[in-house]
């Protein structure tokens, strides 16, 4: 369960007193006391941490505050996990479904801990080709686009349950990027795809229409930051500072969104309008509320029942919010069931 | 030998286009370096010759003098720079099945993926001759060159001499009017060479074909030819002498008269080379060249050990 942040020890990052263990708790913790450090973060193409890096490149926002942010870009969040388990990265991220699966399949030797919720989103709609799909049931006999191993598998699962669709009658096609899904939509190669608000215009351009929201099928998506437990224990102060500064940086982006979106477009080529749209579709601050916790349990339950992994487990054991509690005690509101 | 002119070579000159060297198909032997650096010269200059129908005609000359070049022009593989070559009064402009060619290197000329019989049938097949007739003609030609019993073998199962026989049979079967042969026995050992020379004379007698035969072996020239054209040396080589061999077939190289005729031919060749060298480098130097000329002739004469 929640182990109580105030009893945890963590090594100070100041080189001078590396040997001595200092007790830290929310009362006496001050991020200004944390020395300069490097944090290696695996980012997802176009996610908040990649944006942090872009902001840092243009303004030195993190660097000026003593955080040397190193990012490595992966096509999907889940790809960051292997790098964390092999100690090549400190922090990565996963969506609820991906994380639950990963941990469920490597129970025996996993060190992974979710330590903050980066985002809760209902900004995904099932976009369909209106010529072929008028209602969810019409998917039977048609082609649905998914991505292997990512949260869309869960979203479709919930969709099929909700609308009593015979999944054996739906042809699922796996793509490896949304670009491919757009291509399929444009060429009438498929009939449905889970589209987030950021990219929705591209699908609307080719005539697709939203049909079902993920909240309609009870699949609201939570995304989490993840790290090895040992890292969280040994670098609690640094992680805390990282979370705090990130929160502030997100606020900065909010205030300077237009200029920032320009930087993004220049750096990675993502269209400025899409950047703004994508940014606005979600909130940006680190929390760990009860609903996020319960979402994980729910997804775990669903995955186990669908045979994604052999043994049932309790996700409670794979959460460590001590660092978050140091800087934002009010945001850590989950209680173990 | 009838009296009709079969091949008429008039004022032929040839200059190689060095840029296209790699594209040309002629591949002389490696001793041709003497001509390197003179690429803009004429190799052949104003060559004139008439060959009668049914004649056995020899081109004799030192290595690199242009025999193969002239032969390739007659065969239609090379373009002439100047002059005209006519077969039966028709200008030659490319290869044609009325002129069969036997190449020096049988290995590169016959088709290793075809059996002996299929190789020999090749020309007939190209002309659309029916299978049964093709087979009959091919078997006759195979018998003529003494390969009976080997019809279904592949070239890699044959000796060098047998491969050369396949090539000859292949040409014969296509029934050309003229047979063009470029040192066809040059790569064979002495014994096989002797046998094939005799066979060639027999085939010539039986078929009455016009034969144009290149050699730089004086004894071979005298043993085989009715008439011998003697070449001067390149650049500006041409046919400077024509000798008629006055003996009936079969000839015997060990016969003293034949031996003396070989000597005579040798002298004629020497004269031709000496004269053209003198022309190239000025008369005053001619005497110093005496030795060099003898060397070239000796090279052209593979009789002695």
């Amino acid at each position: 369960g929640n182990e109580g942040a105030d009893t945890i020890e963590a090594g100070s990052k100041l080189k001078s007193d590396e040997e001595t263990k200092v007790e830290i708790d929310p009362e006496n913790f001050n991020i200004d006391d944390v020395g300069e450090f490097t944090i290696r973060v695996g980012v997802n193409s176009g996610d908040g941490n990649q944006y942090l890096k872009i902001l840092d490149n243009h303004t030195g926002y993190l660097k000026d505050r003593g955080i040397n942010l190193e990012t490595t870009e992966f096509a999907a969040g889940i790809n960051t996990i292997d790098a964390i388990t092999t100690d090549q990265l400190d922090v990565g991220l996963f969506a609820d479904y991906a994380g639950v699966n990963r941990i469920g399949n490597t129970l025996a030797d996993t060190q992974l801990r979710a330590f903050a919720t980066i985002r809760k989103s209902n900004a995904y709609n099932l976009y369909v080709n209106p010529d072929t799909i008028k209602e969810p049931k019409d998917l039977e006999g048609h082609t649905a686009i998914s991505m292997a191993g990512v949260v869309f598998e869960y979203d479709y699962g919930k969709l099929f349950e909700t609308y009593d669709i015979d999944k054996s009658k739906v042809e699922l096609v796996n793509v490896s990027s949304t670009q491919e899904a757009i291509a399929l939509a444009a060429t009438n190669g498929a009939d449905s795809y889970w589209v987030n608000d950021q990219i929705a215009p591209k699908f609307e351009e080719v005539g697709w229409k939203p049909l079902v929201n993920i909240s309609d099928v009870d699949a609201t998506m939570y995304t989490f930051l993840v790290a090895n437990n040992s890292y969280l224990e040994e670098h609690k102060a640094e992680v805390a500072k990282f979370l705090k500064v990130s929160d502030e940086a997100f606020d900065y982006i909010d205030e300077n969104l237009d200029e920032f979106a320009g930087w993004v477009q220049a750096d990675i080529g993502l269209d400025k309008d899409l950047v703004i749209r994508g940014w606005k579709e979600a909130t940006h601050n680190y929390t760990f509320p009860q609903d996020a916790y319960e979402d994980l349990l729910k997804v775990e339950d669903w995955c186990y029942k669908n045979g994604n992994f052999p043994t049932e487990y309790d996700f409670t054991d794979y959460i460590n919010t001590d660092a978050l509690a140091l800087v934002s005690p009010d945001e850590v509101t989950w209680q173990a069931k | 030998m009838s009296n009709n002119t079969k091949i008429k070579i008039e004022h032929i000159s040839k200059k190689y286009d060095v840029e296209n060297k790699a594209l040309l198909f002629t591949k002389g032997n490696s001793a041709h370096d003497n001509f390197v650096g003179h690429e803009t010269d004429f190799v052949l200059k104003d060559v004139n010759l008439e060959i009668k129908e049914g004649e056995f005609h020899i081109f004799l000359g030192a290595s690199g003098c242009g025999k193969t070049t002239l032969l390739n022009i007659v065969a239609g593989f090379l373009n002439k720079t100047e002059g005209s070559v006519k077969l039966d009064d028709k200008e030659i402009s490319g290869p044609g099945s009325e002129r069969g060619v036997v190449f020096q290197n049988a290995d590169s000329a016959i088709f290793p993926w075809l059996t002996v019989q299929k190789n020999v049938e090749y020309g007939l097949r190209m002309r659309g001759v029916k299978k049964e007739e093709r087979k009959k003609i091919a078997l006759d030609a195979i018998e003529l060159v003494g390969l009976k019993g080997h019809e279904h073998k592949y070239p890699d199962e044959l000796s060098g001499g047998m491969k050369q026989r396949v090539q000859i049979a292949r040409s014969i079967a296509a029934n050309p009017e003229v047979l063009i042969m470029d040192e066809p026995f040059g790569a064979l050992d002495a014994q096989t060479r002797r046998t094939l020379q005799d066979e060639l004379i027999n085939i010539w007698k039986k078929t009455g074909k016009t034969i144009l035969f290149v050699t730089h072996d004086i004894a071979e020239a005298v043993y085989l030819g009715e008439n011998i054209s003697i070449f001067s040396v390149a650049p500006d080589a041409s046919i400077v002498d024509k000798i008629t061999v006055p003996y009936k077939y079969p000839r015997d190289v060990n016969d003293q008269r034949v031996g003396e005729f070989i000597k005579y031919t040798t002298e004629q060749l020497e004269n031709a080379i000496r004269a053209s060298k003198a022309k190239h480098e000025g008369l005053q130097k001619a005497e110093n060249e005496e030795e060099a000329v003898e060397n070239e002739v000796a090279e052209a004469n593979s009789v002695a050990v």
Partner: protein
Amino acid sequence: MKNITRKIIKSGIISWAVLFVIWGIVSLFYAESFFPSPVETFVGFKEIVLNGKLWEDISISVQRVLLGWSRALLIGIPVGLLIGRFRIVNWFIEPFINFFRFVPAIGFLTLFLMWFGVGEESKLILITYASIFPIIINTIAGVNTINPVKYQAAESLGANRFQSFITVTVPGAVPSILTGARLGLSTAIISIVGAEMLAANSGLGYLVYTSRLYYRTDWIFVGIVTLGVLGFFADKFLRFVAKKSLKHYGVTG
């Protein structure tokens, strides 16, 4: 006695045994999901053999490879022959060959999907694209090794340009065409992973590519081993057949 030892060494059994031992020892130091041992791989193997998944993957991938490769042969051999034989074709087409052979097939992933759809077509085209280059290049090389005297011979025997192409160029290039076919097959097998990254639901490439998303490193190993074994034997078979049937074309295996 000495002969038996030699035979055993030659058969490669010892090398494989050594590899297995090394694999086993290395895997002792790592977790299964990081570096599965031979035994763990075998367990994973049994799992997908028993539920029929592996057979399905193999059969679908083999079909794709064979189809894509056959098309590459069907296009590549004639193109190579024409380029090799006719200078004008060479001048027009060779620049493309020497450009596109440096452009990776996975660069075209999205494009092929857009142009040719989610079905088999786009996958086959990707395989064909990847494997056509060694076929064309070797065919050209084969044509270039044909002794020009053969063309002269054919033409003085009455063959026209088309006939000499069919009766000299084609058979004369056979040994190199075969080399090209073998290299093309190896490229086709290699490119199956790329092809099955593209909207696939099964196949060995799909197995290798998606197993990591399901944290099944053992299945990645199963896929890798299967691809290697299939390729190994396909190549052996191709060499054997060619050696037996194309001996007189100069194929020595």
